[in-house]
Amino acid sequence: MSAPRPVLLAGGRIVDPSQQLDAIGDVLVEDGKVTRAGGKIAGPEGARRVDCSGKVVSPGFVDVHCHLREPGREDVETIASGARAAAAGGFTAVCAMPNTDPVTDNQAAVGFIIRQAQLAGAARVYPIGAISVGQRGEAMAEMGEMIGAGAVAVSDDGKPVVSAHLMRTTLEYARNFGIPVADHCEEPTLAAGGAMNEGIVSARLGLKGIPGEAEEIMVIRDILLARLTGGHVHLCHMSTRGSVELIRWGKDRGINVTAEVCPHHLHLTEEAVGQYNTNAKMNPPLRTAADVEALQQAVKDGTIDVIATDHAPHHYDEKEREFADAPNGIVGLETALAVVNTALVASRIISVHDLVNRMSVLPARIFHLPGGTLRAGAPADVTVFDPAEAWTVDATRFRTKGRNSPWSGRELTGRVHLTLVRGAVAHELAG
């Protein structure tokens, strides 16, 4: 690949929490790297000048939790379509969960994802390896070899690690490699058969509910196991006020716990299920207004470290079913910025600076990934977005193959205009 033409991102508001930068200025990208950020820059000969006035120029977003479905369900998403969707959403790097078919639980499977991502171009894709062989929750998968092949973390996401012993030994073993262990917190006997949050809406609709306690029991277990082992536990898709309180408890004691929240849990409540809307069905489910408020505050005060999409495409006719039988999950890569911006920035709960911190700087730092900074010499993974632009979501125009979005037809504020990966244009909004 020849080096892309230099790009001068001119006159935007540069927001880079990694160097406490928030000022109007120019960013120069050359040879796939950021060469300067800030101040007025005279572009070199032949550079493409992009007018970024009125827009935010930030380090590219990093999603530590998405499902790209390849191998196994290429009809629903491929690594290529997922990487393009990521770029369209301003993500320059995403971490792919291992619940593929076959499961990403060995070095060859990890290598396959790396190769497919290289062929795809667009956003970087980092594999996450399975904790257990076949995600069966029994024998530990070959973590060292998977990391050697390019995995950046381990997780059995989609399934909880039921055995506390396995979780313990995984946290211990992961210390040797310095990677996070990402857990899907769900006590399976409490959650069994559940289709949505347990509460008045599930009672009215006659759907089996999943109480928040099903998550919280595993959250505190994992925090205690992190205390026991000194390992780094990363808690996926937190959805309840109780979880926030437990994470705060753990962090106050210096336990090595980090946590993520998804855009939908910051924006929608169980009421979005309405009359059995399967595009509002995911696991963990949408909760109550009190939970949403607690999660928003947790993003503000740092109890929740990062925002991750849990992007989960499904074929349209899999969602066109009776609610209890429809699969869990919604697509999120192409709406994440807009949803977070609408729910948290437009409502003045957090600043754009905080948003960039939790969608770019901290995810990169926690998962030890390149990116998340515009420092000179850093890879030129850059996102340009307009935090004030309102647009109407149209799922039929997504780059992802999934159409399962609860926001389709809704107006959101905040739009990605340009995404550079390694200095090359991975996405540019037309017009």
Binding site: G199, L205, L207, G209, E322, A324
Partner: protein
């Protein structure tokens, strides 16, 4: 076609007091048709109705079928077993195929909550919910209310306690919404493990002891206890259930007033209800079954576009034959 009820009847939760009143009042003249030697009026002649039953049902299916036939509709029964459904066809494909044969109405019984609404949103035919999962069973709620009104002469202000497995009961939900809309006071009584955890937000009183319910109520609607609840760990045993929550004659004898006993059937005699209560003077259980046909005739009639004030005329048309 828009009717005073809308296109479909999927539940009682979103019906107004006027709509429920209309349904109950429309059922009144239809009662008499079933008492005739020739139990048939031509009201729905030429209408095609599919009874689409994904769950086993005798009472509800037969009741709907009688209602349809007594209104002269052409009916087809489709049971999930023995149809393409058992070959993996989706609900929406099944429905679209039926509709492609040009039908007018679908009566659906399905194990998934929301299935009736799902169907109604996807086909043009009128859809009547004959029970969807643990969501609603609106015609059961209506026939319960008609039976209560027959016996207590009003619904406004009466006290009805729904006893048993409210958590898994579509009958309970339809009763709660319908009765509350009509101004009745509603309570529930049963093992807390078989009540929705959000029961406190459903506008009902909760009694922990059946004795309290009996002291309070004008009528008890006793739900069937699904026998698998024991193996699923919700209750210790059927024997204990009867001892603690069973409606027995001994308990009824201590009631401060005459109680009406309703049960949607099929009964587990000796579990939630003792035989001498089911067969005793308080029981209106068979009246419920009789009223079920009239209520379903009213639902079919109104959704087919019939006007309430013409229901009596429809009845008289039968006389002219």
């Amino acid at each position: 076609m828009t009717t005073p009820l809308g296109k479909d009847l999927v539940g009682l939760e979103h019906l107004s007091r006027a709509q429920i009143q209309l349904l109950l009042d429309t059922a009144e003249p239809f009662k008499e048709i079933s008492e005739r030697a020739i139990k048939k009026v031509p009201t729905l002649r030429g209408k095609t109705i599919v009874n689409l039953f994904f769950e086993a049902s005798t009472r509800t299916r037969v009741s709907f079928e009688f209602a349809e036939k007594r209104l002269s509709a052409d009916t087809v029964n489709v049971a999930a077993s023995g149809s393409s459904v058992s070959k993996g066809e989706t609900l929406v494909d099944t429905a679209r195929n039926l509709e492609a044969m040009r039908i007018d109405m679908v009566v659906i019984r399905h194990g998934s909550s929301g299935a009736a609404r799902f169907l109604g949103e996807r086909i043009e035919s009128n859809v009547i919910n004959a029970g969807d999962g643990t969501h609603e069973h609106p015609t059961q709620g209506l026939l319960d209310m008609l039976t209560l009104r027959d016996n207590l002469r009003r619904l406004d202000g009466i006290r009805v306690c729904i006893c048993g497995d409210v958590l898994h009961s579509r009958v309970a939900r339809s009763n709660i919404w319908g009765l509350r809309t009509m101004g009745a006071e509603v309570a529930v009584c049963g093992p807390r493990s078989l009540l929705p955890s959000a029961i406190g937000e459903m506008g009902v009183t909760v009694f922990d002891r059946i004795e309290q319910a009996i002291e309070w109520a004008d009528a008890l609607n006793i739900l069937r206890l699904q026998l698998e609840r024991m193996s699923a760990g919700y209750i210790p045993s059927l024997r204990e259930y009867n001892r603690v929550f069973g409606v027995t004659l001994e308990r009824l004898d201590r009631a401060p007033r005459e109680l009406l006993i309703l049960h949607p059937g099929p009964m587990n005699r000796g579990v939630e209800i003792d035989s001498n209560v089911a067969d005793g003077p308080h029981s209106v259980i068979l009246d419920q079954v009789t009223n079920g046909v009239a209520v379903r005739m009213a639902v079919l009639y109104l959704l087919a576009g019939g006007r309430a004030d013409l229901a009596e005329a429809a009845q008289r048309a039968g006389d002219d034959r």
